[in-house]
């Protein structure tokens, strides 16, 4: 039997079962749907970001116009009393969408990806009033092509390959095949390879089609390169599962045994290990409760208001250069609000630090679990390459807080001195820009477990070969 005949035979064997064909069709449809769902989410995020920048820009243009009028004013124009107040300045901020963000929704549907930065809001309310997404959709996890690959690619591989030899064994044909002098190892691996190639190949082809189709309307810089990286992980994931299937199949047990064992591995590696490791990480390293954070912030807010004169004195002592404009039109509540937000942010800083520390420890613990489950390792890498990881979103939130703190430091004396800032000063304040961690570094974190799992795969291949050598026409 030449290679072509072999492939034709295998193809016929696989797709002659209507049930298998149907399941395969469902899988491909799931991949395509995942691609479309991811695109819809990404487009919605992009539209929201665009809308946010437009809205902030309109507000600030009007604010700047008033300020310019004030600067040229001879007292004849009636302007709002707060014209030029640094407290009224709002900055647009967003987490830029990565070129392949349609491939994995990750945490982007749950965590903030845009928001106004303003001195009026303490850190605890910096991103607020955004929780409108469908809770059921969030609870079940929005569907995308990466999720389809993570959950269903192993199942399809199992359905296609579990009976690589057991079908012949169960129907008592294996002994006859071996008696014909066929090299079992070659026969076995050719079958595994061919079947894996069909499934992984169709997965990659579907993903490629999705990548091309979804590219419309977005910047394609680096999209293809990132897609290649994403696809490499898909191939790794598929290959790992194929080797796992091979090792189980090489024990030459019944088809039922193979299916049940592999199903056990699937439930364990894709559902139980991720869920337990996540629960364990959350139990061992709990983040401070946001309710506690809120209670603390409110307590400090109250205390600051009650002891405002002392806080003002302290600020004045820290800024001896400060001169308060006694003629100012700015009401007292403006500087009072500034003091309160600054004090609350400062006082709740340790809570945020311990929150970040807990997140860091959790990440460290979960990094260990990546060695136990390819799903955890690949899931994390999918989110990293598509820029939708929780880590990237948290980094955005931290950068927004830092930007606000810097701006507060810059304009604090003006606010407390009840003076407007100048238009020139405003124009020189840099806009918020997200500082991206290089892709190489993001990937670097997840590569060690992949290398480890590759080595495991290699070990499993060797075990498979040894097991195959034990199969003889008599034993089968």
């Amino acid at each position: 039997m030449n290679a072509f005949d072999f492939m034709r035979y295998e193809w016929k064997l696989q797709f002659s079962s209507r049930a298998v064909f149907l399941v395969f069709l469902v899988f491909v449809s799931t991949l395509i749907y995942g691609g479309f769902a991811g695109k819809a989410e990404r487009d919605a995020r992009n539209a929201a970001i665009e809308n946010h920048y437009r809205s902030v820009s309109t507000t600030m243009d009007s604010w700047l116009e008033d300020l310019r009028t004030l600067e040229q004013d001879d007292g004849s124009i009636d302007l709002p009393s707060l014209t030029g107040s640094a407290m009224d300045v709002i900055f647009a901020s967003s987490l830029p969408q990565e070129p392949l963000s349609d491939f994995s929704i990750g945490q982007s549907d749950l965590l903030p990806f845009f928001g106004e930065i303003s001195l009026k809001n303490p850190n605890i309310r910096l991103f607020s009033k955004y929780e409108f997404a469908d809770p059921i959709g969030l609870a079940l996890g929005n569907f995308d092509i990466s999720k389809a690959v993570l959950l269903f690619l192993p199942l399809i591989l199992i359905i296609f390959s579990f009976d690589v030899t057991s079908a012949d064994r169960d129907s008592k044909r294996l002994g006859l095949i071996l008696l014909q002098g066929i090299n079992l190892r070659n026969f076995f691996w050719r079958r595994i390879l061919f079947r894996a190639l069909i499934v992984i190949g169709v997965t990659c082809a579907s993903a490629f089609a999705v990548m091309i189709y979804n590219a419309a309307g977005v910047t394609s810089d680096g999209r293809f390169a990132i897609f290649v990286v994403w696809m490499t992980f898909v191939v790794f994931y598929g290959a790992f599962w194929s080797v796992l299937i091979a090792v189980i199949a090489s024990f030459n047990r019944s088809g039922e045994f193979n299916v049940l064992t592999l199903l056990g591995f699937w439930v364990g590696l894709t559902l139980i290990v991720p869920a337990t490791s996540s629960s364990l990480a959350e139990s061992l390293y709990p983040t401070p409760s946001r309710l506690t954070y809120l209670a603390e912030a409110r307590e400090v807010e109250n205390e600051t208001r009650l002891s405002e004169p002392d806080v003002v004195n302290e600020f004045m002592l820290d800024h001896p250069e400060l001169l308060v404009d006694l003629e100012s039109q700015f009401p007292d509540y403006v500087s009072s609000a500034f003091l309160v937000t600054s004090t609350v942010d400062e006082a709740t800083g340790p809570i945020i630090s311990s929150f970040e520390e807990a997140l860091g420890r959790r990440e460290e613990l979960l990094d260990v679990f990546k060695y136990f489950s390819p799903t955890i390792a690949v899931h994390s890498l999918f989110n990293e390459v598509t820029g939708t990881s929780g880590r990237r979103h948290n980094s955005y939130i931290m950068q927004a807080r830092a930007f606000k703190a810097n701006y507060a430091q810059l304009v604090g004396p003006n606010v407390m001195g009840k003076k407007p800032i100048s238009a020139e000063f405003f124009e020189n304040v840099p806009d918020f820009g997200f500082k991206e961690e290089p892709l190489g570094m993001r990937l670097g974190r997840g590569l060690k477990p992949i290398v480890f799992l590759l080595l495991i795969g290699l070990g499993l291949t060797m075990i498979t070969n040894r097991q195959l050598m034990k199969i003889s026409p008599v034993s089968s």
Binding site: A19, T30, Y33, A44, A47, A48, N51, H52, S55, Q107, L110, L111, S128, K129, E131, F132, A133, D134, P135, I136, G137, A139, L140, G141, N142, F143, K147, L150, F152, L155, D163, S254, E256, V259, L260, V267, T270, P274, A275, S278, S279, E282, S283, T287, S289, R290, L291, T292, L294, A295, R298, E299, N302, R305, F355, R362, L366, I376, H379, S380
Partner: protein, 478 residues
């Protein structure tokens, strides 16, 4: 005859070491789910309790303060832990835990617990309900896929039938065996969850009967679902020639109906009825609020003003009495705008929740392909962790906001005569502001809202059981 069949089936299962290992794994997973649920919910319950106490203390310790400033500071409405959330947390981690009852604004509930969780946790719901929904069908499949097919493969099916046992009796015996084992796991999980909830709710006023009725309701619907899975498994096992094929088909069905469709249905529902982006929501709200503002000289505004003043003084007043009152007009204006804006907020939030309801109806439509979707709705509803329960909390919080802001505005109206000095309410005034006491909606409401889901699960259970017995009426190839 049935007794003999059941006894034989049980003996076979007990003797099969693999089944015992399987029970051990399922039991362990359920325990893990329970421990995780208990640990999360009891911590959350304690945190909510502490936060409520802290919030009251801070509010009452404001000292002398202008009531309008206090309306901006205001109170927080904390959402208590739901009655059965240790069993099924539902959407509780994906909706906010606390509402800021601020003057002028109806805020959404903020701080979704899921935002602090790991991203890995979103791959699978590891609560007790999540494990039951995922694993119980698998357990039934593994116990039942070969029930008939293996008997046929081994030639024992023909022997059994020729010994005078009817196919129907055989199916019934196997059905009772597989169903009762799975049901035992359900009872074990739900009873443990109920006991756990008693600990979580030690400090709350959740009545014991409510907890009992919720347990029974959950047991009932999960039981129906298990009946459906058992009947379907036996049906497939009966019509397929080989046990291996029966297993493959059943696993395919499990993948589609239990793993894929619930996820896909949520995703498709969100695409068909998209939830608003926050910026869109608030922009639309601003437009509606400004369009609804009344001219202060309009008859409608004057009427609203009159209502506000009379309410503040707790009696009907004549035109001249109002004119002669020493009241703070700013306070009146603030309260009138609260009354007018409140209608807009109520309408906008009703639309938001209507959209969630549309999404739910759409998912319900897709449950004609998978009863798992309807079961998830029922499980969350009876656990008090569905979107309807959140809507109830959100509306109650808004009612509380209106109450608090009104008390503060009336304090301003009555006591601030509008002189130059800004009125400061005395420090002891804050304790007169009513506390937010929230009680979860009764189980009866959950049943009323989940009628359609219940009938879907019931229909699936009936349809599959009838189908299985229909086969037993001699339509089966032996």
């Amino acid at each position: 005859m049935n007794k003999a069949i059941i006894a034989k089936e049980f003996t076979e299962i007990v003797r099969d070491g693999r089944a015992i290992v399987l029970f051990g794994i399922v039991g362990l997973l359920l325990l893990l789910g329970l421990v995780t649920g208990f640990s999360t919910e009891s911590t959350r319950s304690q945190t909510v309790f502490d936060a409520k106490v802290a919030d009251a203390e801070v509010f009452n310790a404001q000292g002398a303060k202008n009531p309008h400033s206090a309306a901006h500071f205001s109170r927080m409405a904390h959402k208590p832990v739901a009655p059965f959330s240790a069993f099924d947390p539902g959407v509780s981690a994906y909706v906010g835990q606390v509402v800021w009852l601020e003057g002028h604004y109806r805020n959404p509930a903020m701080f979704r617990a899921a935002e602090d969780a790991t991203e890995l946790g979103r791959l699978e719901n590891f609560s007790l309900a999540g494990v039951l929904i995922l694993i119980i069908p698998l357990l039934v499949i593994l116990l039942g896929y070969g029930s008939i097919a293996k008997e046929r493969e081994q030639g024992t099916l023909r022997q059994i039938i020729s010994s005078g046992t009817s196919l129907r009796s055989l199916l019934l015996g196997k059905f009772i065996t597989v169903f009762s084992i799975s049901f035992a796991f359900l009872v074990f999980s739900i009873v443990l969850a109920a006991v756990t909830s008693l600990f979580v709710f030690e400090a709350s006023s959740q009545p014991l009967t409510d907890l009992f009725l919720r347990s029974v309701s959950l047991l009932f619907v999960y039981g129906l679902y298990t009946a459906f899975v058992t009947a379907t498994t036996l049906f497939i096992s009966a019509i397929v020639q080989e046990a291996k094929n029966s297993l493959l088909i059943l696993l395919g069905l499990w993948t589609v109906m239990v793993v894929s469709l619930p996820r896909l249905s949520a995703s498709i529902a969100e695409k068909v009825y998209p939830s608003p982006q926050s910026s869109e929501f608030w922009e639309a709200m601003d437009v509606r609020l400004s369009e609804n503002r009344l001219d202060s000289s309009s008859a409608e505004y004057v009427a609203a003003e009159r209502v506000v003043i009379e309410r503040a003084f707790g009696k009907k007043l004549t035109e001249s009495e109002i004119e002669n009152l020493a009241i703070n007009t700013r306070g009146v204006r603030l309260e009138v705008s609260e009354v007018i804006d409140s209608e807009i907020y109520t309408a906008a939030y009703a639309e938001l929740f209507k959209n969630y309801a549309n999404q739910k109806n759409f998912r319900r439509l897709l449950s004609i392909f998978s009863p798992t979707i309807a079961l998830q709705h029922l499980s969350q509803a009876f656990s008090g962790t569905d979107v309807n329960a959140h809507e109830h909390f959100s509306n109650e919080a808004e009612r509380q906001r209106n109450k608090i802001v009104r008390v503060l505005n009336e304090e301003l109206i009555i006591n601030d005569s509008g002189e130059n000095l800004r009125y400061l309410a005395p420090p002891e005034f804050w304790e007169t502001v009513p506390e937010f006491e929230y009680e979860y909606p009764a189980l009866e409401i959950a049943w009323r809202q989940s009628g359609a889901d219940f009938f879907i699960v019931l229909a699936w259970a009936l349809f599959s059981t009838v189908g299985m017995f229909w086969l037993g009426k001699g339509r089966l190839e032996v």
